[in-house]
Amino acid sequence: MGTATGIIRALNSGIKHLAVKRFTLRYPEEKLKFVGDGYQYDPTSGVGIAGYKGRHMLFHDKCTGCQLCAIACEGVAEAIAMVKVPEEWKHNKKSIMPQIDYGKCVFCGLCVDACPFYALYMTNDYELSSFSKEALIYTPSQLQVKPEVKQDVDIVIDKRGATHG
């Protein structure tokens, strides 16, 4: 008898779940929203600011070419190399800035933690596919561009279940 009640309860639970809403996120028509603007780090207080660890963004008016990000990455993924840029800044006498190879980067964010000049942040952009390995190496001028992200969907929980809406 225990078997029969167990079977009927399982079937009942299955049929009741036909009324619960579907949970799927219909990417690429719907994209998830993230908190904030990307992972950032405040060197004075020494604590990071919560955000998504996506593509980096480099501020040319703050970077001094100190190479601390490249040194931090050496033990992890060796994805940052310093290259010469054709710009002249007062605070960047050697005119070198980091270029990041996204074929190697593991998006850990230790380079952001290493920068003492508020120059390297991470953004919400994660759609970085390309057709060739060379196109994955982002030069400093490419890293300067703020990404355009259209993310608008969040997890909504109501009486009939959770959905992405």
Binding site: I7, A10, L11, G14, H17, L18, V20, R22, P28, E29
Partner: protein, 432 residues
């Protein structure tokens, strides 16, 4: 609906349109016209009432209202239509295709996800067509050491047997492909043929995993055939006939499931085991023996096996409806055909058209078909639900259920039926 498809450009669309028209014209001129010439050369046109039945005369007869409808009716009641379309293969294949799509969507909804979604304007309704086209376009790979004649023949035999099973089921009063007096015995004979086909296809593939799957399928199907047959003996005792149409007619006052519920449950469980549905899908256990006896089938042969499987599902569900749920019996919900159209003809303003022989289908036939389809869909729903709710059963548990518990329950069912018969409650000459 998906934005993954490339954008629409008018130039490309016109180009593809003209391409299609070009190829249609080329094929028609080079292939179609000679074929028509050959046919007209060698086949003698029949003579009808003194005039020659040319294609033009045939078209005129079809579209003229006085002669069109009797022509259509004669086509509808012919044997070919019965086998290929209505209670036979076409109807079953349509319901089988609908079942595959409904199963995927139902399972998806139970598991809180969308099933097929992008393949048609509305919730992926053309997904089956896409799957069929994909299977047709794939290469059929046959293992080098396989037994080739049996390997090719086995799926075709499978579909043929399933179609033979479908042909015995009565859908509406008078609408059955093969009206046999020993209909139920023929059903048992055909069901007994399925394990042979399974073991043939598993053996001819000459590989380890199909071998294990075939042996398991053989054990499973053979051990559940006995409870299947025994559970139906109760119904036969109460009606005294093996003819399926007469069994349906004898349920005009009550359905057998009300008095033989144990038999219905035993038949349902044996049905799940014969169809290799979860929880009894050992022969196809994916996490243990890659795909069981279906492993070596690829391309359209796999498509044929799936088609046969789902035809078998429809046929079993229809058999359940015929035997226990009253077949086509049900209250009359179809409105009768307006009588004035038969006597006076269709009146549209000043024009009156006489269309003789108009009610193409009788009221009983439409009503019977409607109730039959509704009941079959309900039974198929109950067959599909355990797929999302139960895990797979183990082989020794399966054999103990088939040989011990179900046979005992089937015998209890037979005793109940005998008791009801001899107490004069049911059956010929009973109270009900």
């Amino acid at each position: 609906m998906s934005v993954i498809a490339p954008k629409f450009r008018l130039g490309y669309f016109l180009k593809s349109l003209t391409d299609n028209i070009f190829w249609i014209i080329v094929l028609f001129t080079l292939v179609g016209m000679p074929a028509i010439m050959l046919i007209l050369f060698f086949i003698d046109l029949p003579v009808l009432d003194g005039t020659l039945l040319t294609p033009f005369l045939a078209f005129t007869m079809i579209f003229h209202p006085e002669t069109g409808v009797p022509l259509l009716k004669s086509l509808l009641y012919s044997d070919f239509f019965r086998i290929a379309a209505f209670p036979g293969f076409g109807f079953a294949a349509l319901l089988a295709a609908g079942t595959i799509f409904a199963e995927r969507k139902l399972l998806a909804k139970l598991q809180l996800r969308v099933g097929p979604f992008y393949c048609g304007k509305f919730e992926g309704i053309l997904q089956l067509m896409a799957d069929g086209l994909k299977l047709i376009s794939k290469e059929i790979i046959i293992p080098a050491k396989a037994d080739k004649p049996i390997f090719w023949a086995a799926p075709i035999l499978f579909v043929a047997t399933a179609a033979a099973f479908v042909s015995l089921i009565p859908v509406a009063p008078g609408w059955v492909v093969a009206d046999l007096d020993v209909g139920l015995l023929a059903v048992f004979a055909i069901i007994g043929f399925f394990p042979i086909i399974t073991i043939l296809s598993a053996w001819s593939a000459n590989s380890k995993f199909p071998f294990i799957g075939g042996i398991r399928a053989l054990h499973q199907m053979v051990s559940f055939e006995i409870p299947l047959i025994l559970s139906l003996l109760g119904v036969v005792i109460l009606t005294g006939t093996l003819n399926l149409s007469k069994i349906v007619e004898s349920q005009s006052n009550y359905w057998f499931i009300a008095f033989l519920p144990i038999g219905a449950i035993v038949f349902f469980i044996s049905m799940l085991a014969e169809l290799e549905r979860i929880p009894f899908d050992l022969p196809e256990a994916e996490s243990e023996i890659v795909a069981g006896w279906l492993t070596e089938f690829s391309g359209m042969i796999y498509g044929l096996v799936q088609l046969g499987s789902y035809l078998k599902l429809y046929a079993f569900a229809a058999l359940f409806v015929v035997l226990f749920l009253g077949g086509w019996q049900g209250p009359m919900v179809v409105p009768p055909f307006p009588a004035e159209i038969i006597t006076h003809g269709i009146v549209a303003g000043p024009i009156t058209i006489h269309v003789p022989g108009l009610p193409i289908t009788t009221q009983e036939m439409l009503n019977g078909t409607l109730w039959f389809t509704l009941k079959t869909v309900a039974v198929i729903f109950f067959i599909l639900i355990p797929r999302g709710v139960f895990p797979r059963i183990r082989i020794d548990m399966l054999l103990s259920i088939g040989w011990n518990k179900l046979i005992a329950l089937a015998f209890i069912n037979i005793f109940i039926a005998l008791g009801l018969l001899y107490a004069g409650v049911l059956g010929p000459g009973g109270l009900l």
